[in-house]
């Protein structure tokens, strides 16, 4: 019971610290609204995302179509909601895979050190030598187009970064007395890592995940923008921007609104991540 009360106290402290950062709180609520709208797209969207209206193509924003219609007469607002569902879900899954997968690799590398560490880190170095977007483009080209493939490409591309972060954390913790004590009274490596090491390096990992969510949204839409990633008839923000390039001369809504959606969600995650960093660990600096 006592332990639980203490946990509650810590969470309370974190929430209190977080709520002091007004911008981060606003970002959090914007994100919540956006997530709700996008995940609930079938409920909130006024039209079907694939419904074409050949008599009403490239319509300017109006009461019927708040953001206008695209080249096939599909409602842009509806497609942004559905596109957001794709972008946000893919970003969420790929970030989690990167963080967990990279985290496991990083923890092994940092905890065991020596040869294991050397081999893993050299491999990570190789992956990190390829510029991030380029790596995603290459993997995505191999896996083909589609939401799952994009998710895998972005996730794999993010694993080396995730590994580095956790490794650095584990290295810093490894020499702490309580880790040595745990080893001395006979805990297995697995147990030490899972119950002592990992919980103590969660704060930077959580912050990294949040910032990664924003970053991945850009990656995903970037991939779709150059014709990899999620493709028609599925809606995706980057793919919508790409289709808007065709009409850039006389129809601005198709390249403006999906882009704004990307910016707002990225801004949301970045600000939320910043606020979270301050709330989780006041010692960490921006």
């Amino acid at each position: 019971m006592k332990k639980q009360a203490k946990r509650h106290g810590q969470l309370y402290e974190i929430v209190k610290r977080f709520s002091k950062r007004k911008i981060a709180v606003v970002a959090f609520f914007v994100l919540v609204v956006m997530l709700a709208l996008c995940l609930g797209a079938p409920i909130f969207a006024p039209y079907d995302y694939a419904l074409q209206d050949p008599f009403n193509t490239l319509a300017m924003p109006s009461w019927q179509h708040p953001f206008g219609t695209d080249g096939f007469g599909r409602d842009i607002f509806t497609r942004i909601l559905y596109g957001g569902r794709n972008s946000l879900l893919i970003s969420l899954f790929s970030s989690l895979i990167s963080v967990v997968g990279g985290g496991i690799i990083g923890a092994i590398s940092g905890y065991y050190g020596g040869k294991t560490d050397n081999v893993i880190m050299r491999l990570v170095d190789v992956f990190m030598a390829i510029p991030g977007i380029l790596l995603c483009v290459v993997i995505s080209a191999a896996l083909g187009t589609g939401p799952w493939q994009t998710c895998a490409a972005v996730a794999i591309g993010g694993i080396p970064g995730g590994a580095r972060i956790l490794r650095a954390q584990v290295l810093a913790l490894r020499k702490q007395e309580y880790i040595e004590a745990a080893g001395a009274y006979g805990s297995s490596d697995m147990r030490i890592v899972l119950t002592h090491v990992v919980p103590n390096c969660l704060a930077p990992v959580i912050v990294d995940t949040t910032l990664r969510l924003g970053m991945n949204i850009m990656m995903i839409s970037g991939l779709a923008f150059i014709g990899l990633g999620v493709q028609a008839p599925h809606a995706e923000w980057g793919a919508m921007l790409n289709s808007g390039r065709e009409y850039i001369r006389d129809f601005w809504p198709l390249i403006t609104f999906p882009g704004l959606a990307i910016v707002i969600s990225m801004l949301g995650f970045n600000l939320f991540g910043d606020g979270l960093r301050d709330a989780l660990d006041p010692k960490l600096k921006t």
Binding site: V126, L134, V137, I226, G238, M266
Partner: protein
């Protein structure tokens, strides 16, 4: 210092090797048959198919293909032949690389010239309206993808205002939009980093001492504070450079710049995998060189790091020296594993060896 630089360049080789192996392996699993890309979908005999596969070196397993690729690269300086155009990949890359790399370097220079002063001003005038505006702008800009910025810039500056051209690369005006789109996001990041790094040193005792001595404020900021704040700034510049090079793949595509990035995207849709591998390897190599350059800059900025490099070289020197005749071999083998004791032990060994005759 020179020794360290050479060592670092040599250390790049295994990483580069790894990059080639990984990128080539990924391309091996890409959809589509390269032989069909060359021959066309139909209208060839099995014999023709086999011959083409042999000519392209695709009739052997993946490890052998990678080996041949590396052999070609080392002995002939070739990156294979494009499946799509039939031209040498190296030839095309050499032709396009200066454009991409030029824009990359130009973007980085713009990045440094703009964001470091902004960051300094922001830090010096902490909590002023200006600082606040810069901080907000930095966060917003960091959340704007370059490719969307590119579209909006084309819409505004090329189509509405007709100030700047939207595609091609013939005059200096053509460079403005791509460079701006490449660097704006990074400017935000670097300005933020400069600000926080400066804030950390600006209250340091030595800065106060310098001020108390009566050194001009500008000199205190540039000589005393900035120099000590440079290390994290340089680190971010290296990271941002990698971002710029990666982002240029998409940006070049939008502005129809005949660089490596636009060719890469075309190569994917043409299933021109040798080109894809070649360009990825060249871009990665270049990025690695730039990161190396930033690493070496540390030594110029911080004498402590330089001293560390030099002492490192000095300490390892006995390891490289061959053992003197008659000197105990044990000492040398021990020296390889442990840097600190190596100087002692093998030095003593050499001393003994030298004393014997």
């Amino acid at each position: 210092m020179l020794k360290y630089s050479i060592k670092r360049i040599l250390l790049m080789i295994p990483i580069l090797l790894g990059v080639i192996i990984i990128v080539y392996s990924i391309s091996y699993f890409m959809p589509g048959d390269p032989v069909q890309t060359v021959l066309g979908a139909t209208g060839y005999t099995q014999e023709q198919y086999d011959m083409t596969a042999h000519r392209l070196g695709l009739d052997v397993g993946l490890p052998m293909q990678i080996f041949n690729y590396l052999k070609n690269l080392v002995t002939k300086g070739e990156l294979g032949v494009s499946y799509y155009t039939g031209r040498s990949v190296m030839e095309e890359v050499v032709q396009r690389a200066p454009i991409s790399i030029g824009i990359g370097i130009l973007s980085s220079l713009v990045l440094i010239v703009i964001s470091v002063p902004i960051g300094i001003i922001s830090a010096v005038k902490q909590n002023s309206v200006l600082d606040y505006c810069i901080s907000v702008l930095a966060i917003v800009l960091a959340s704007v993808p370059g490719f969307w910025l590119a579209l909006e810039f084309i819409l505004l500056f090329s189509l509405k205002l007709r100030w700047l051209p939207a595609s091609g690369l013939s005059t200096w005006k053509h460079y403005i939009l791509p460079v701006a789109c490449n660097s704006l996001g990074s400017i935000a990041m670097l300005a933020r980093m400069t600000r926080s790094s400066m804030l950390e040193v600006i209250r340091a005792d030595y800065v106060r001492t310098a001020k108390a001595k009566g050194v001009k404020y500008e000199v205190v900021i540039t000589r005393h504070a900035l120099k000590n704040a440079l290390i994290p700034i340089i680190t971010v510049i290296g990271a941002q450079f990698s971002m710029i090079i990666g982002g240029s793949v998409i940006i070049e595509n939008i502005f129809s710049i005949p660089g490596m990035g636009s060719r890469l995207v075309a190569a994917i849709s043409n299933r021109d995998y040798t080109m894809l591998v070649g360009i990825t390897v060249v871009l990665s190599t270049f990025t690695m060189l730039m990161v190396l350059l930033t690493d070496l800059m540390y030594a110029f900025v911080d004498p402590r790091i330089k001293a560390e490099f030099e002492s490192l070289n000095g300490r390892r020197r006995p390891v490289i020296k061959p053992p003197a005749p008659g000197g105990p071999n044990v000492a040398v083998s021990g020296a390889v594993t442990d840097g600190v004791t190596s100087g002692h032990v093998s030095g003593a060994g050499i001393g003994k060896g030298g004393a014997k005759p």
